[in-house]
Symmetry: C3
Subunit: 403 residues, 3 copies
Amino acid sequence: MAMAPSSSLFTYSFKEGMCSPETKTSNKNLICNYANLTRKKLGCSGTIYLRHPRFFHSENSPKVEHRERESNRNGILCRALKTKNPPSFTVGKTFQLDDIIEAQQFDRDILNAIFEVARDMEKIEKNSSGSQILKGYLMATLFYEPSTRTRLSFESAMKRLGGEVLTTENAREFSSAAKGETLEDTVRTVEGYSDIIVMRHFECGAAKRAAATAGIPIINAGDGPGQHPTQALLDVYTIEREIGKLDGIKVGLVGDLANGRTVRSLAYLLAKYKDVKIYFVSPDVVKMKDDIKDYLTSMGVEWEESADLMDVANKCDVVYQTRIQRERFGERTDLYEEARGKYIVDSRVLEVMPKHAVVMHPLPRLDEITVDVDADPRAAYFRQAKNGLYIRMALLKLLLLGW
Amino acid sequence: MAMAPSSSLFTYSFKEGMCSPETKTSNKNLICNYANLTRKKLGCSGTIYLRHPRFFHSENSPKVEHRERESNRNGILCRALKTKNPPSFTVGKTFQLDDIIEAQQFDRDILNAIFEVARDMEKIEKNSSGSQILKGYLMATLFYEPSTRTRLSFESAMKRLGGEVLTTENAREFSSAAKGETLEDTVRTVEGYSDIIVMRHFECGAAKRAAATAGIPIINAGDGPGQHPTQALLDVYTIEREIGKLDGIKVGLVGDLANGRTVRSLAYLLAKYKDVKIYFVSPDVVKMKDDIKDYLTSMGVEWEESADLMDVANKCDVVYQTRIQRERFGERTDLYEEARGKYIVDSRVLEVMPKHAVVMHPLPRLDEITVDVDADPRAAYFRQAKNGLYIRMALLKLLLLGW
Amino acid sequence: MAMAPSSSLFTYSFKEGMCSPETKTSNKNLICNYANLTRKKLGCSGTIYLRHPRFFHSENSPKVEHRERESNRNGILCRALKTKNPPSFTVGKTFQLDDIIEAQQFDRDILNAIFEVARDMEKIEKNSSGSQILKGYLMATLFYEPSTRTRLSFESAMKRLGGEVLTTENAREFSSAAKGETLEDTVRTVEGYSDIIVMRHFECGAAKRAAATAGIPIINAGDGPGQHPTQALLDVYTIEREIGKLDGIKVGLVGDLANGRTVRSLAYLLAKYKDVKIYFVSPDVVKMKDDIKDYLTSMGVEWEESADLMDVANKCDVVYQTRIQRERFGERTDLYEEARGKYIVDSRVLEVMPKHAVVMHPLPRLDEITVDVDADPRAAYFRQAKNGLYIRMALLKLLLLGW
């Protein structure tokens, strides 16, 4: 069963493929068995069971009608956001998602609606003395591996909205995990102390396990080789903000396309838009895996591989550069050195790029973008990092208060 | 001199025994010389010297009459909370304790009064958008060894009441302690930056030393092999919440009874209630020490040792399981493996347990309680962890604002 | 060109000398080329470009007239705060400094004005339920090496004023720095999440590099062997609070004068006051370097070296003791042991000290001040640590809101 564009259906198999990119998965598996990521503890009565008592205190969280339908088709629980009941993005309505676990949860409509909230968040952050809409809410940042950038971004997002934060910077070493406690037990404890958990873990699938356990929302802030969905969202948001559109854009993905989860997720999400063209520019050892290429093909997205960065830069709206990750090369530092020097974004690349185009990068950057590029207005990567704040503000607001 | 039930008298010797369980202490030493843990810098004029200027700003902290009496009897400073002046738990009155250092500070009346506040805290946490009663107060979590669970619980408690937190997750390695600064000097500095200090330390007696130095309240969040009084309180609170009473209960303490400070403190506090029966179920190598057994006997508490967990589970209101701590066995992993497999709480144990009974555990748990037990409503350990929040909210409120 | 007392002119060369005290610098280099530390992105139109949109929301941050003059003399950009335009310390006016990087940024007038704000901060901290003047502002503590004392002091300062904090306790190990990201890139990211950055770094000059990059204020909380300007300010503030004056004081600097950046900065700042006399008392291996001595001479400050602590203690208003830093001696523990035992402040020193005099110490202290000194009212070091809070509150207020 092939997926239609704009569908919110997605598969666990595909996701598994994202975790272990070596595993090639065929589109035949693209069937929906992901209902466990839909609204938790959903009652059969047609009303949503709001999970946390704290939800009730807010005038923004009235009891809402159940707007989604779950059905058991072909023995597999399916969720079709868009078939009979159009999605509701009305102010005051609950958010469609319980947790933010992976890019596959998002379709085009929900992305657009989230981006609109993110734009509101830009205004809140820029023009006022700070919002208080999340006052009284507590976010726990449960980080099993350090990621200062991501953690600060989430914590800033929460605090800019008046919320509070509990922090564990290195849960792997410091917490009961060291004594052998399971992730599930840790989550059951931490959910007693907070209203939402932002989790970073070193194992693929950890966030999903946490979400299956927790009665409060979980946001995946990266689970090892798995997903980092808020990064994927901020990348798409940045393209829209910088280029002004998503349909019809041309994007060059450059660098480590085999291991970089950001480019994989970005390619996945771009497939939801019309007439997108994607160019893959990477050293041979870190080429984009077939699962994503097959998926793009199945979605009708044009893509091609190129060894000529200048040519691609000349044609694209977005040059998305990534870091070659040394840790992936093990002992083969010769291969690493060869790979990292191959495609550098520098002033020569800027020269051939269109005036309206931008250079993006998930950061941190080493020397794959030279420092002199920073001064060019088309260097969008620090604005991109900032957009992460707005996207995270939007998601925190949506998960805790609804639309 | 034997202690009467419900007495608030306790001894330093006994406490020392708690720190080094090997040291056998006799009841002869159970005399009161603990006056240095009573209200700090107590004036002779009959009015309490409120230690921190910040206390004065609150309308909840009026000058209060001195309601306690100190007397020097038999050459030893004694404090008798209950003799002539009945304790006052009236709203607006100051809390009887300056610091929370060890289980011995609590008698039955003060426990009951604290539990009533904790129940109020449950309501605050559940039904409102968060209290602001501690707004403007700063808690410093000075952790010399990591304990994410305990730290997050305290920080959540403070923030749920509108207070703010300064965090040191690993003071031992990170702070001036590494340069050789004494604990006392660190406390003198940190008390200048905060209104209350929650301290975790690797040395027995550290919290007491801190309390002797500080002019602001100290809460002991665990001092090595010493005490962890808030854990002891939340355990008793949980039993009352789950079983509905404390007098007349039967409790089975299971697992590592030699090294587990939680079971030792719990046994101590249970002795304050009437007709309590305690069963000790543990591998031979980690049996309950004589000091606690002698103390229970002296307090008229029935206890017995048993090797039959099923039999005990069948009779008890509470099965309190604990983790066998590998680190206590050193090289003898054979002994560890033998000990840890001996008494497991699993579905067979649940089968024989009364319907009203509960399984408790201080967490983290490894496999001494099997995961399938979690689904049983009698599995109370995650509710127990949550109760830690309410107890800590109550103590923070009481220490900073009074009753 | 020699500097006149009270001048705000200072030199990069001198600063470099502070970073690498071995480098002897001559007064000939005392020319002003430090304009890059003046108000950032200064427009030519005579109005200051306020860097952060959040500045605009406050009624305390009106657009202000450009009150400083920049001129290019002898090919070197010069800034003379006091020549034609007298400094303005009027409530509502913007602060003269964009960043707090080093002691050389402060002249006598600005010190006095800051101290007045610090005294207001004492009142705020002591008498009210906490100020909310920085509500809505976010401070990021970007610490590349741990310094719990300094970090907690800044975080307390921010929270006492109603502001919020993002914390990185060990950015060196945890952040993208480990992956090779430059400091500049990190700062560009973090400034997107916060309104002010307090930075501790292990490299001299790091704070200045951060300030050159950032569009929001940077406060240097210590940059390796370089500067720690807020410590220098709190030291001078403490002398004024304790002794009641700065002109005409006699100060004995004791201990490690070669490596201690606090005594070096303090000597520098004291030179701004009249009739100051400074005594250097140190083991031979850690004597005060010539650059500071030459500077004091050039500023007309009397100084002398002495090997007799008792004699100096007898004459001085302030005995400023410092720790002999073991790490500076490498393998030569014999030299370390000899040096550390040489000048101890103990009860015998107290006996010869004038009644009005005080003992100061930047802390942590080992045994260079004996514990029995603590009880003497002249032991000012814990009050000194507390003054750090007021100074930091004042600087945060000034940088974010202006006078």
